[in-house]
């Protein structure tokens, strides 16, 4: 019980240490989490031959996945890289903090970030007249699993990158690449057959399919949720393994 309370306190401290950053830099945060995905949504609608309700829904799903990916991989990755390469991680390691508390603190921070970004995006969609019949539970489960998976990837990249620039390049590439390479904004049929099986089971593609159902008021498909859960578990386990306070 004492250990659990200690861990929760550590997670809360890590969250607050990073929350100060969002507080101080709200502008770029809004830009990253909301404006870019919104612009992509508007762009996708504008270039589509004809915007049916199904297409509008797909574009909205795409924008939510892009927002998730930007906040959980690109932005979080940048923050983790900055922590590592400016000596903040070293400073944290001087305290009796457990590496897993750091990981969960970061995940809690990413969760709040994601919630803010997606809420703003859904609000914008509502104001733009996009019809959404949201099934809240499947929606929250899907977003949570996707966020855990993408956060895990972010931690793996940030802890293994050999330099700040290498890590930054990788998190940016993953953040955008995982969305545009996967059938998120478009149908899988458009993809070349050779890459289709891989692209269809990328975490972003699974998230998009599950969210599409949730936005239609239906339960998310089980295979997608199971795949996301497995990928989230694997990514977080790898991330936790990469985080060590003692170097060899």
């Amino acid at each position: 019980m004492v250990e659990l309370s200690r861990r929760l306190n550590e997670i809360d401290c890590i969250f607050r240490l990073h929350w100060g950053r969002v507080r101080a830099e709200a502008g770029p945060f809004v830009l990253a989490a909301v404006i870019f995905p919104t612009a992509t949504y508007i762009f996708a609608r504008a270039v589509a031959d004809q915007t049916t309700a199904v297409r509008a829904g797909r574009f909205l799903v795409g924008s939510v996945v892009l927002s998730l990916s930007l906040t959980s991989i690109s932005w979080l990755g940048y923050l983790l890289l900055e922590n590592r390469f400016t000596g903040r991680t070293k400073l944290l390691a001087t305290s009796p903090l457990a590496p897993s508390s750091y990981l969960f603190g970061i995940v809690a921070f990413a969760a709040v970030q994601t919630a803010l970004g997606i809420s703003a995006l859904l609000l914008f969609a509502g104001l733009s007249g996009v019809q959404v019949h949201l099934a809240p539970v499947p929606f929250i489960i899907t977003v949570l699993l996707a966020m855990l998976c993408l956060c895990g990837l972010s931690v793996v990249v940030a802890t293994r990158a050999r330099s700040f620039s290498e890590g930054s390049l990788l998190t940016d590439t993953l953040g955008a690449g995982l969305v545009f390479f996967a059938p998120v904004y478009y149908s899988a049929d458009i993809l070349p057959p050779i890459v289709r099986p891989l692209a269809e089971w990328l975490p972003t593609a699974c998230t998009a399919r599950a969210l599409f159902c949730a936005f239609d008021g239906r339960a998310a498909p089980l295979p997608e949720l199971l795949a996301l859960a497995a990928m989230a578990g694997t990514a977080l386990a790898l991330g936790a393994r990469s985080l060590r306070w003692t170097e060899d």
């Binding site: 240490l17 950053r21 400073l91 009796p96």
Partner: protein, 302 residues
């Protein structure tokens, strides 16, 4: 003053206990590129002692401190901190230590008081205790007026003082300070020295690495001289002096009028230490360092 009322009750540090605080045995650190940064280093530091680790850049001081703080695993050898194997229980050991790494970053967007309080909470204080600890430490390091300022707006010296403050939280029985005053302005250096002296008076054991002879002479009970990864000498200033004289005598060529002619090279002849030693004055630490290592302590400051 920096001890915050029963802040870490479960730990109940008694900094005034007697015995060995740090025991290092046959410590070797060989990096993957083959560099041997520490070579069979062994020493004991008693509780309540202040020990300075002295050596030029690249001598192995930081590597040694990183191993004491459990940040770096030794290739072989053992480190015991207050009777505990440092690498068997690093979290437990870190609860007993305050560490100032040489290169550590602060969270720039936080305010000074907030930063100190959050780290106090990481060390086990509740919110109220953490706020009190933050105030006490800010006052001790002359940062009271900066407590509401964001870290990002502080000068280099003030940031370094915050780092020292973070190490002092919870009044740990052991402080490891890696070049705590390097690059500081004289005022900040004076404040850090006063803080170290206060911690010594509290009974804390302090190990600090430094380039500065004056710092080592002023603050230390004993001095460890490291050169090329090896512990060349370890003792109080007088002991180091005696050791240097013995060493010089052993290596002096027969018939030489004084042991100090053994200092190799013409550079040595011109060196001020020889004049001073030949006048039988007590040599400075810089001169002792030169005698023991055969090298001047050349340091690139800043």
């Amino acid at each position: 003053m920096l001890a915050t009322e029963n802040m870490l009750q479960e730990q109940e540090h008694d900094a005034t206990e007697t015995g060995t605080a740090v025991r290092v045995r046959d410590l070797i650190k060989r990096f993957t590129d083959g560099t041997v940064a520490n070579d069979r280093i062994s020493f004991d530091v008693e509780r309540g002692e202040v020990v300075s680790i002295l050596g030029p850049n690249g001598a192995g001081k930081t590597t040694l401190l990183r191993q004491l703080s459990t940040e770096l695993r030794p290739t072989s050898g053992t480190v015991q901190i207050l009777g505990r194997d440092a690498f068997a229980a690093p979290r437990e050991v870190k609860r007993l230590m305050g560490i100032v790494p040489q290169e550590a970053g602060l969270f720039d967007s936080l305010r000074v008081g907030e930063h100190l309080a959050l780290f106090a909470r990481l060390k086990g204080a509740d919110a109220r205790q953490a706020r009190r600890a933050a105030c006490a430490i800010a006052a001790a390091l002359d940062l009271e007026k900066r407590a509401d300022k964001r870290i990002g707006t502080l000068s280099g010296g003030e940031r370094r003082r915050v780092l020292v403050g973070l190490a002092l939280i919870g009044a740990p029985p052991l402080l490891l300070l890696d070049e705590p005053t390097t690059g500081l302005d004289p005022e900040s250096r004076r404040i850090v020295w006063q803080t170290i002296e206060r911690e010594r008076a509290r009974g804390a054991t302090i190990i600090l690495s430094t380039h500065y002879m004056e710092e080592a002479e002023r603050l230390s009970d004993r001095i460890a001289i490291i050169c090329d990864g090896r512990l060349v000498a370890f003792g109080a200033l007088d002991e180091l002096n005696a050791h240097a004289v013995r060493r010089a005598a052993q290596s002096a060529p027969q018939g030489a009028p004084a042991p100090f002619l053994s200092l190799s090279a013409q550079k040595a002849r011109d060196h001020a230490l020889q004049r001073q030693w030949n006048r039988h004055a007590r040599p400075s630490l810089e001169e002792i360092y030169f005698q023991l290592t055969g090298k001047p302590l050349e340091v690139d400051f800043d």
